[in-house]
Symmetry: C2
Subunit: 374 residues, 2 copies
């Protein structure tokens, strides 16, 4: 299939795979799609290592990097704090400690304050700039901005390097703002998507964004994990699709066995848009964690971003480690960012098989539509 | 276009138009679609009048009737009350009185207790049976059940009359239950739809329901108001689409000028799933009414169904009348059940033009998909 975006990026099939795992990115890229590595969890040095590995494993095919550019983050609270955790109100720190204790989560890994310091560095504008510097040294074919308009410096430097800039949006207004800021490609993401997401569904959002930013190409995200869903997205006017959740249960995925079991067992009713992890609404598995923060009687309510991320990230790392050890309380708390398509994910498969099946089902869906309208 | 459901119902194009307005039902039916009259607002005698008018205005073409079958309604509270409003807690009645006063809504129309009595009769099982009796005396081609599985008696009598039974669902589990109860056609309705709606988006829900109830045909609802969206729904595996919101801004619609102005001005962010009108989550325009009930400090919180409907319906009728007179407070309170597609509705048009444009855009969307995959 050849859409304008296929021509522009030099790919065969406009299936974009967002993943935090380089193996997924490589597998999808090598199967004819376009892998995009989520870089937010990495330091610049770590990202350099990942991208060097990717350069060696995709045989010259283009892939992308996604950075979280913290558009509206108020860093003033952070500047005053020696340890970043000191900027978090006591009752929020106490609530996290209480949750870990109530659910009997064993203390492992780094001190929570050290994790907070590291997270704080990652989500500042300086952190994003460091990652962008590294990314542009590699043979990337796309750089994506996951939150807020791309900063002018990022656009300028990407243009100099000949790398298109993509931006994720959840409303028409954001799409217009992103294009004005220089985005070359818009990813219109519906509320059913995993991670940070808005309120408008993919079915409603995509045609509106396509019309609003024409002729800038639009990818659809949210609710897409099969060929039928991809065909639907293209019928809405998208030039391709951006999928994240479907890779979480692939053989290559970064997800731990305990999380993967939860994903495979979940229905489409088992996700929730919650501010309990990052401070911004993000769709994730419903778990004791989201229930305690969002409707628990003792909850202080989530903070904004980035403070909520600072106070929760270290605790979540502990919960994940404890869940892997089979601790019951941790298994109740642990969750993962995932979209409503989680209800379709029923087995662990190689990423390339997911790509091939998606391409094949896409063709069948288009054929069926064609026959219906003859 | 010929899907199995077109053959079964004898229609040209599988576009189902749900409307409370007979003029919309007739216009869509005569333009090649299939109109379905929402009967819940009518007494049996009124419904008989409406359907007689329809029989005279659709030239033998099939149309449908939608009744609200109150599956889980607890009528025990109602049985004890002389006036049904007596079953409503004082603080909820007081809050409604307070809202009408706070927003300066003038008192017109029936006493609130009389409206409550009438509403109570409509939403009981006996009320639904009376409507079904009337509907089956007319030349209807479909009877739809909007809440809960169709009662065995309804299925039996519809079968005897040769009329297929449709059922609206928001989850795979509900779809299975409806088919087990005898539904011949499933309407899988995503969270973006107007009125009573679940949490799962159309993009995610439809393929899951199609697979779960195969070979029972599925219509897609929620987020569909254009030919691109219809093509997307069909790509997901639906055999047709069920649209409601798009008719609210047609020339024929029952909506008052004040409501229509609000609909035309609204974006896709201006709806909310709220329990503030019926007691069950229903998507509607966000207004002072939904804000006061859902997050106002004085709100007692909504009751369940049908009590919330009893306490609010008369007040809403007053608000609508006052809004028509241009009262500012009433204009802030007034709203309407509508889906997220409200952001696409920008002008008042004849219903048949909406049908023709939808058919034409559907063809273009399928053609574009076909060209892409050549």
């Amino acid at each position: 299939m050849r859409t304008a975006i296929c021509e522009r990026l030099g790919i065969e099939f406009p299936l974009f795979a967002f993943s935090h795992c380089r193996d997924v990115v490589a597998a999808v890229t090598n199967a004819g799609g376009f892998g995009v590595l989520g870089a937010v969890a990495y330091s610049p040095d770590q990202l350099d290592t990942e991208l060097t590995w990717l350069d060696e494993h995709v045989d010259g095919r283009p892939y992308g990097v996604d950075v979280l550019v913290p558009g509206k983050i108020d860093a003033s609270a952070l500047d005053r704090a020696v340890h970043l955790m000191d900027a978090v109100p006591d009752r929020h720190r106490d609530f996290v400690t209480h949750l870990l204790s109530k659910y009997g989560v064993s203390a492992t890994g780094q001190p929570l304050t050290a994790v907070a310091d590291e997270v704080g560095r990652r989500v500042t504008a300086a952190g994003a700039t460091g990652l962008i510097d590294v990314a542009l040294k590699h043979r990337i074919g796309l750089i994506a901005s996951a939150l807020g308009p791309p900063p002018p410096e990022m656009v300028t430097r990407a243009r100099q390097a000949g790398v298109p800039v993509a931006a994720l949006v959840g409303t028409v207004e954001h799409a217009r703002r992103q294009v004005a800021a220089g985005a070359d490609l818009i990813v219109a993401q519906g509320t059913e998507a995993g991670g940070h997401t808005g309120e408008i569904s993919t079915m409603v959002l995509v045609p509106q964004v396509v019309d609003a930013v024409d002729p800038v190409p639009v990818l659809a995200a949210g609710g897409i994990a099969s060929g039928r869903q991809m065909a639907a997205a293209m019928a809405l006017g998208a030039q391709g699709v951006w999928c994240g959740s479907v890779w979480l249960t692939t053989e290559e995925a970064e997800t731990s066995p305990a999380v993967r079991r939860k994903l495979l067992a979940a229905s489409s009713l088992d996700t929730v848009r919650s501010r309990s992890r990052t401070g911004k609404p993000a769709r994730q598995l419903r778990s004791a964690w989201t229930e305690e923060w969002d409707s628990g009687q003792e909850s202080p309510g989530p903070l904004g971003m980035p403070l909520q991320l600072l106070v929760t990230e270290g605790a979540m790392a502990r919960i994940e480690a404890a869940a892997e050890k089979g601790e019951q309380g941790a298994l109740e708390l642990v969750n993962y960012y995932v979209g409503q398509v989680v209800g379709q994910l029923r087995q662990v498969r190689p990423a390339k098989d997911v790509v091939y099946d998606l391409i094949s089902e896409f063709g069948e869906a288009v054929d069926r539509l064609r026959r219906l309208s003859e």
